[in-house]
């Protein structure tokens, strides 16, 4: 029997979640304190889940690799969070948010999950405001909204260009309150290095104390993985330097299926790469496309500076190709359009890999003050990095790896194929299909953490009689010795290349072959190249220092070793998916207008990969996607 039971409840889509909640088993208030829940990661999903479970009375332990829970990378999200509030009275509804998200994901997400997401979106805003999150407001004192890509309504709530920061600090404050009450224990500078299963259930983790270097064992009745995405497989991305796939990858190797790893989001508006020392890429929020217009010169040979190029000689290619949505097309569409112009030689910048994002008209119409109020911190950041003033000259932007829609496979309850292992936020695969719409990641992280997991985890605890175990269980011994063996191995190789040099090499292969456009030959080549980089890594990496201290090289070695395995799975998944959809664009499969061409007959399914051992090929399982409410059409933003 396939393990891929989505467990989507029966009934009309609008009633599924309500009915399901009524049927979920409960843990009585005085019994909740008997349970221990481990939450890995303290971003929006982890912090909100840990706080909510603590409030309910469970004993919660949280772990993060940063020095404080408040620094998880959700903090860097800029533009906003969607919610079907319809405050602007522009016709929004739960249905429309649901529909836009399914369509935006190019019909590769699970309908019921997306509907639930849209349904709880309004509660998220209420919750955050009650916590004291200072959202942008109108002069009358009510909340302000703006538009994001892939939507024709204004449903995005925001706090200048720092929405993620404010939402995360809200969740962090709820978490700190529970720490104060003794319901949550917070372990910072701890990195999860493996999962411990006992009798088929996820029952614990091995983490490394990053200050002392000691391995520590923690036992629990459920493990919640809230560890974000795998964008750093590409080395250069908008992710924080520490973001990694290790926790999810270790769970995969312990029996959790990995779903749709080929769905990566290349964000259209990032500051272009400069120099080979570059360590990361910086996003310029999608919200800028509300007021900024994207263009390149009409003439390939036009080398004038942008302010000297008159309107008539500019090609506002998004407005030209997609008149209905214009500059607000979804991210995958905008990124490919930028790549197309640059491939044709119209790109600007010394590298030819950039397009303009121009605020001239908006500044003329609204005044510089208004633009500053909306995007001040982004303009400030742009100026810091590039030394150019975007109020005077247009920004130069280019797509970069930003978000990953794939992740560990979960059912409707957010439970993975390992009972007791729940996966929340970007780390799971479920809600965004093949492309995530802007301002939907914050929504999903908080929906999973505040409003889904607190119900479904309780159901797991109430319906399974879990045996009492402790960290002296032989399973802990076994897993810990494997983790220790790996650490010893890294330190003993003593080769001649740094960890980073391997990471950069992997990143180039990923970007060149598994980036915005992919083809079978390139993906085949990528698999072979990754294998050979991996082989050399284990022969020739040089990790300085020892295991019994704060050792950032050792931390990186573990993450890069896992990326070197994961990258191959990503390429395999991209190779097996013989269609184009959302962020996954196979050159072999495109319409005459160069748009992504889906194959609904053969690929309207989730691909979930099962680990079969280091030397064996993984097995590809399928979960068929049934669309009962939304009609599958060629996605059009024209």
């Amino acid at each position: 029997m396939s393990l891929l039971q989505s467990n989507v409840p029966e009934g009309p889509i609008a009633e599924k979640w309500t009915r399901h909640k009524n049927e979920l088993k409960l843990v009585a208030p005085n019994n909740k304190r008997k349970y221990e829940i481990l939450v890995i990661g303290t971003g929006l999903a982890g912090a909100s889940a840990a706080a909510s479970l603590g409030e309910l009375g469970y004993n919660v332990k949280t772990f993060c690799y940063q020095d404080s829970a408040r620094r998880a990378h959700s903090i860097a999200a800029q533009g906003g969070i969607n919610a079907a509030k319809n405050y602007p009275n522009d016709g929004d509804s739960v249905w429309r948010l649901f529909y836009d998200t399914v369509k935006g994901g190019d019909y590769r997400s699970r309908e019921a999950n997306v509907y639930r997401l849209a349904e709880v979106s309004a509660n998220i805003i209420d919750q955050c405001v009650a916590q004291g999150v200072p959202f942008a407001r109108e002069y009358g004192g009510l909340l302000a909204n703006r538009t994001f890509g892939g939507a024709q309504v204004s449903r995005t709530f925001y706090a200048r260009g720092q929405t993620g920061q404010q939402l995360l600090l809200g969740a962090y404050s709820a978490l700190m309150r529970q720490v104060n009450k003794g319901k949550v224990q917070n372990f910072a500078r701890r990195e999860m290095l493996d999962l411990v299963n006992i009798d088929g259930n996820a029952r614990g983790v091995i983490v490394r104390n990053m200050v002392t270097g000691k391995l520590e064992r923690y036992v629990g009745d459920a493990v919640l993985l809230c560890t974000g995405g795998y964008g750093n497989a590409y080395y250069l991305s908008t992710n924080a330097m520490g973001c990694n796939v290790t926790a999810a990858w270790r769970c995969y190797k312990r029996g959790a299926y990995y779903a749709n790893p080929c769905y990566t989001q290349i964000h259209p508006t990032c500051i272009p790469v400069s120099g080979d020392y570059q360590s990361k890429l910086t996003l310029m929020s999608e919200s800028l496309r509300n007021d900024g217009r994207v263009w390149v010169p009409k003439d390939v040979n036009d080398k004038r500076s942008p302010e000297q190029i008159p309107e008539a000689d500019r090609d506002y290619y998004l407005e030209r190709r997609y008149p209905a949505f214009g500059n607000m097309v979804p991210r995958d569409v905008a990124s490919r359009a930028a790549k197309e112009r640059c491939d044709e030689g119209f790109g600007v910048n010394e590298s030819g890999r950039a397009v303009y994002l121009d605020f001239k008209r908006a500044i003329a119409e609204q005044g510089q003050k208004a633009i500053e109020a909306k995007y001040g911190n982004l303009f400030h950041m742009y100026r810091k990095i590039t030394n150019e003033n975007p109020y005077e000259v247009p920004m130069k932007i280019y797509p970069a790896v930003h978000y990953t829609m794939g992740g560990l496979w979960v059912d409707y309850n957010l439970q993975s194929t390992i009972p007791g292992l729940y996966v929340l936020g970007e780390a799971n695969f479920s809600d965004h299909g093949a492309n995530r719409l802007g301002a939907s990641a914050l929504m999903q992280g908080l929906a999973d953490g505040y409003f889904v997991a607190p119900y479904t985890v309780g159901h797991h605890l109430a319906s399974n009689k879990l045996e009492k175990v402790d960290t002296n269980n032989p399973a802990f011994e076994q897993v810990e010795s494997e983790v220790q063996g790996r650490i010893d191995k890294f330190l003993s190789i003593n080769g001649s290349r740094s960890v980073d040099s391997f990471h950069r090499e992997l990143g180039l292969v990923m970007w060149d072959n598994c980036g915005m456009a992919r083809n079978a030959a390139g993906l085949q080549a990528a698999i072979e190249k990754i294998q050979s980089i991996r082989w050399e890594f284990w022969e020739n990496v040089h990790v300085t220092g020892s295991g019994h201290q704060l050792n950032m090289e050792l931390e990186k070695a573990g993450r890069v070793a896992d990326f070197l395995e994961f990258g191959e799975l990503l390429a395999r998944d991209a190779l097996a998916r013989e269609e184009s959809c959302g962020g996954h664009f196979r050159e072999e499969h495109q319409t005459p207008e160069n748009e992504a061409k889906r194959d609904d007959e053969n690929f309207a399914h989730v691909a979930a990969w099962e680990y079969q051992g280091d030397d064996a090929e993984p097995t590809r399982h399928q979960e068929e996607l049934n669309f009962e409410n939304v009609k599958l059409t060629q996605r059009s933003y024209k």
């Binding site: 020095d67 009650a130 920061q165 917070n186 360590s279 990095i385 201290q549």
Partner: protein, 250 residues
């Protein structure tokens, strides 16, 4: 450009540290300060020396991880800029650059430039929250907040918790950090019910952690990469004074 770096090296909290000098040729003016340190570290690794440990993560100036004194200034010479957003174009060929960890009793050095800032978390645990459980919050627009208050609250809430204010203060005071959070909640109706207990408990915890009193020199504001205003300290003082006179909490 060519730089001479003087960097604080300390293997752990208990051991004594010292400055070590490194020459770095070929620094590009387009590099960020941390990328310059990356290049140094690559060089050290190739010489089988331990790279310089420093905290960093988002490298976009928002996570608050990076934390170093650069030529005696927290986060270096640029206004409202974290070390990760500082670019080498601010330096010139032949410069000497002194790089140290945050200096404060409440922030013990863990290794090289990495310090332990968990004291900040404990101050937050003492009261930096609104006591509202998940679920059934009232409709977000049921409470109107004047735009000016919302904007001021936002300005205070943008604190990234990096600790530059503490490092810059000769008293190693955490007043700017604490005042930013106290202000955010004091300016919003949601924070009102707990405003007295919040300020009393957070200040008590701040003292307990070993942070000093406000030096009134405003160096914190000058060093703050998020542009947090010292007006917040004035507001904290008002809140604290009111609370000590009128709070029923013993």
């Amino acid at each position: 450009m060519k730089l001479t770096l003087h960097i604080w090296r300390q293997s752990k909290t208990e051991t004594k540290g010292e400055f070590k000098t490194y020459e770095l040729p070929d620094v590009s003016e387009h590099m960020s300060f941390l990328e310059m340190l990356d290049v140094l570290n690559e060089k050290l690794i190739s010489q089988n020396e331990e790279p310089v440990a420093f905290d960093h993560d988002c490298r976009e100036g928002i996570c608050g991880s990076c934390s170093m004194m650069i030529n005696g200034q927290a986060h270096g010479p640029d206004l409202e800029t974290t070390a990760c957003q500082l670019h080498m174009r601010k330096f010139k060929d032949g410069d000497d650059v002194w790089i140290e960890p945050w200096r404060a009793d409440a922030f013990p050095v863990l290794k090289d430039l990495v310090v332990d800032r968990s004291a900040f978390d404990r101050i937050m645990q003492a009261g930096a929250f609104v006591s509202v459980n998940t679920g059934n919050a009232p409709d977000a627009n049921s409470t109107i907040v004047p735009k000016m208050n919302a904007d001021l609250a936002f300005d205070a809430a943008t604190c990234i918790g990096c600790g530059a204010c503490v490092a810059a203060c000769k008293n190693a005071s955490a007043m700017l950090f604490v005042s930013a959070k106290v202000s955010q909640y004091a300016l919003l109706p949601q924070g009102d019910p707990e405003r007295k207990t919040r300020v009393l408990r957070m200040v008590a915890q701040m003292d307990k952690e070993g942070f000093g009193g406000c030096s009134n020199t405003n160096e914190c504001e000058a060093a703050c990469p998020a542009g947090i205003s010292v007006n917040n300290i004035a507001r904290l003082n008002r809140e604290y004074f009111k609370a000590t006179l009128t709070s029923r909490e013993s």
